[in-house]
Amino acid sequence: MADPFTTLGVAPAFSLDLTQLAQRHRDLSRTLHPDRHAAAPPGERRRALGHAIEVNAAWRTLRDPITRAEALLERLGVPRDERGGPKASPELLMAVMEQREALAEARASGDVERIDALAGAVRQREQETLARLTEAFSRAEGGELDAPRLLSLLGELRFVRRFLDEVGAALDDLS
């Protein structure tokens, strides 16, 4: 797939202004969406559809910090096989396990407030991880690539995401 930064015409960086990114996505959609080419000859319609799919995919990739980090690692030449799978410190694994148990308990007893509190704590952790990733990626841009650190931070982010997904599922059950 084409590089999402190139597709959306933005400078590659982990820290992006999402308001501007969404605006860019909409500006491009305005010209590329198939509805804009509905009356055009078939070749143009196919081309527009292909472009629109690519722009939507790029936007999907860049608005999510996990896939955005993966796209940056791709650009930095970190091999794909090393990027997969969560890599987290034993300390994080312990913390996650405890939070999982707490979530399962809250879910079983239908304690929505407790679930919200757990989610809040994890979101706080997410913000910290994002800040560290921003810093590590800007060092990498400056030539100081520390791939193991980036991968471990990305692993943390994946754990956080999975936990928040479970929170969503728990709230789905209880609502």
Binding site: M1, L8, G9, V10, A11, A13, F14, S15, L16, D17, L18, T19, Q20, L21, A22, Q23, R24, H25, R26, D27, L28, S29, R30, T31, L32, H33, P34, D35, R36, H37, A38, A39, A40, P41, P42, G43, E44, R47, A48, L49, H51, A52, I53, E54, N56, A57, W59, R60, R63, D64, P65, R123, E126, L130, A131, T134, G168, L171, D172, S175
Partner: protein, 638 residues
């Protein structure tokens, strides 16, 4: 009375059609405003009921509805509930007065309407669309295609079936449009608003909730959710169940289609009366003679439908969460669908969102209005408004263990595409089966099965050597296309598609030929009309492109394009065979090919240029642009 002056040279008007569970309607833009056309019933709303008479007659609308209690098996209402569903589907088994034909093919529901051949929900829907098409032609002279609405939560099989019905009815489908998006378009154009809106759409048989952002002429859906098997019909069924018991018919075996139809009719009437009165009395015949009288209060009814409303509430909460929003952040809640007329439904929505919902536009017609607006925009190749919709349900592929490998998650902006790579698991394996499913559940068997694809002709290789690249493309109507390629040899694979539900292309083609009096001849005439309309539209679009981007053509290319354009103009006006128009389209297509690429590159550069995005320190946020949009939006208002 003002007469519409029919201008034979004016381009044919495109219409918007709301094909609803209980009612359908067709609308067109006139002087910049949507107007509902009169249906064969003389009203804008046509009951979605089709009656198959004993002597081969087919009636649609009010006249068909009149037969509902007398000849229930021959009178199909709510066909939309069965569209794109299988004979063994849970929905098919719900309380109803139909007789189903026993058949080997479980992929399609077939109604036994007392004729030699049973009819499918696609054919029933086609009768309704045919009637609306005729009404439109009677009032507009010619017809330039249609936008047809579907519930946002319709899956691929249901969308495909709707498109098939339109094809059978002789309609050129410009696009399928999600009902809540259509409603938002109608409201947005009406009120010139911007902000984040929720569209709560409770129809006769389907429920949709859509959260969307309106800004700068773009209607961007953030999330959608719902239940394609929940609506006013379920309220009727809950009430009818109580009536059937009062009639002494606890035992399902004692219930004939006639008695069920009677109970459903009485239930529907009681529901409508309860919108105005606090209490109503219903009288129904008792088994073994006499009458049973039942007094129903609004509170009884509310208690009865509360579980249904709570199901809508759960879907609303999830949609808000998917959009990353809370109810307080909304700028408005729009009500759509006849069932939202019930005071108890309105009260529930108000409770749920903490604000009074918007009801200015007729909830029964607002969807057709929006569809008409979109049809008009497409036919005029206008760039005033853009609708960005999403995939309602995740798409995935069944894995070896019966799980689901998700290729596109729900709420992905469409058009969308994804590629997955698979490999062979046995030596010299030459075939490969792919099971595509849609839904959120973890097991493939709990999701909706869309299709099985069998790939053949893989060159014999050791296990794990072949690389099968499968691409999934969802277009702007939410319709899926799957393609496969073996990448080590570059061979395109033959794909056999076995849709899990619905009709195959050949079956639709056969039905189409059967439906026409003179088969091939009529079909040819219909294709000619469609090709001419399409050709005329293409002429218009190419003229617009020439006005804007002629500088991207060399003199020679420009002569070529103009020649092809003149050829197509002549063919669209005079051709007597569809092939002639098609040939002219092909020539124009080929001569505009390279130019189209340059124009698109220019457009992309234009969208990107001058607004270089810089990285802003500390602005990393988790969610999609919604919060960011909201902030910008709120800043703008303060």
């Amino acid at each position: 009375m003002l007469l519409d002056i029919f201008d034979p040279k004016a381009p044919p008007k495109a219409v918007g059609i709301d094909l609803g569970t209980t009612h359908s309607s067709v609308a067109v833009m006139r002087d910049g405003r949507p107007v509902a056309l009169t249906t064969c019933d003389g009203t804008p709303l046509l009951p979605s009921v089709v009656h198959y008479g004993a002597h081969g007659t087919v009636q649609v609308g009010r006249t068909a509805k009149a037969y509902a209690e007398r000849e229930p098996a021959r009178t199909i209402a709510s066909a939309k509930r069965f569209v794109g569903r299988g004979a063994k589907d849970e929905q098919t088994a719900l309380l109803g007065s139909y007789r189903f034909a026993e058949g080997a093919d479980e992929r399609v529901v077939r109604f036994d309407v007392g004729r030699e051949a049973p009819v499918t929900p696609v054919e029933v829907s086609a009768e309704i669309l045919k009637s609306l098409r005729q009404s439109a032609i009677d009032q507009l002279g010619t017809l330039g295609g249609a936008v047809i609405t579907v519930p946002a939560y319709f899956d691929d099989a249901q969308r495909q079936a709707t498109k098939d019905a339109a094809k059978l009815a002789g309609l050129e489908v410009l696009r399928l449009l999600n009902e809540p998006t259509a409603a938002a378009l109608a409201y947005g154009l009406e009120r010139q608003n911007s902000g984040v809106f929720a569209v709560y759409d409770l129809g006769g048989g389907t429920f949709d909730i859509t959260i969307l952002l309106l800004e700068d002429g773009i209607f961007q859906v953030k999330s959608t959710g719902g239940d394609s098997a929940l609506g006013g019909d379920d309220m009727d069924r809950a009430l009818a169940e109580r009536l059937l018991r009062a009639m002494g018919l606890e035992d399902p075996a004692a219930r004939t289609p006639e008695l069920i139809a009677l109970a459903l009719g009485a239930a529907r009437e009681a529901k409508h009366r309860l919108s105005l009165a606090e209490q109503v009395t219903v009288s129904v015949p008792r088994r073994g003679g006499g009458e049973a009288e039942l007094t129903l209060g609004r509170q009884d009814f509310e208690a009865m439908i509360r579980p249904l409303l709570e199901r809508t509430g759960r879907a609303c909460k999830r949609a808000l969460r998917d959009a990353g929003l809370s109810a307080e952040q909304l700028d408005g809640v729009i009500l759509v669908g006849g069932s939202t007329r019930a005071p108890s439904v309105q009260r529930y929505v108000q409770e749920l969102f903490g604000r009074e919902p918007l009801v200015e536009l007729d909830p029964d017609l607002v969807v057709a209005y929006g569809a008409a607006a979109q049809a008009d925009l497409l036919a005029r190749a206008s760039d005033e408004v853009l609708l960005l919709d999403v995939l309602p349900l995740s798409l995935g592929v069944e894995t070896m263990g019966g799980g689901v490998d998700r290729v596109l998650p729900r709420n992905t902006t469409i058009p969308a595409g994804a590629r997955s790579t698979f490999t062979t698991y046995a030596d010299h394996q030459t075939g490969f089966e792919l099971h595509v499913v849609q839904g959120e559940r973890e097991l493939a068997s709990d999701c909706r099965s869309l299709a099985r694809f069998t790939l053949r002709g893989i060159p014999p290789m050791p296990a794990g050597m072949a690389r099968l690249e499968v691409s999934f493309d969802v277009n702007e109507s939410g319709l899926l296309t799957v393609r496969a390629r073996e990448t080590t040899t570059g061979l395109e694979q033959q794909i056999e598609v076995q849709p899990s539900y619905g009709l195959t292309d050949e079956q639709v083609e056969d039905m189409l030929l059967d439906a026409l009096d003179h088969g091939e001849e009529d079909l040819e005439r219909r294709r000619l009309a469609d090709a001419r309309v399409e050709g005329a539209r293409m002429v218009l679009a190419t003229e617009k492109a020439l006005a804007a981007d002629a500088d991207l053509l060399s003199d020679e290319e420009r002569r070529g394009v103009e020649q092809a354009l003149a050829g197509l103009r002549a063919a669209a006006a005079q051709a007597t065979r569809p092939g002639v128009v098609q040939a002219a389209i092909d020539v124009l297509d080929q001569r505009t090919h390279a130019w189209a690429g340059r124009r698109m590159d220019r457009a992309i550069a234009g969208a990107i240029a001058g607004k270089q995005l810089g990285d802003v320190e500390g602005s990393v946020a988790h969610a999609a642009g919604v919060e960011a949009h909201l902030e910008a939006h709120q800043r703008g208002r303060n």
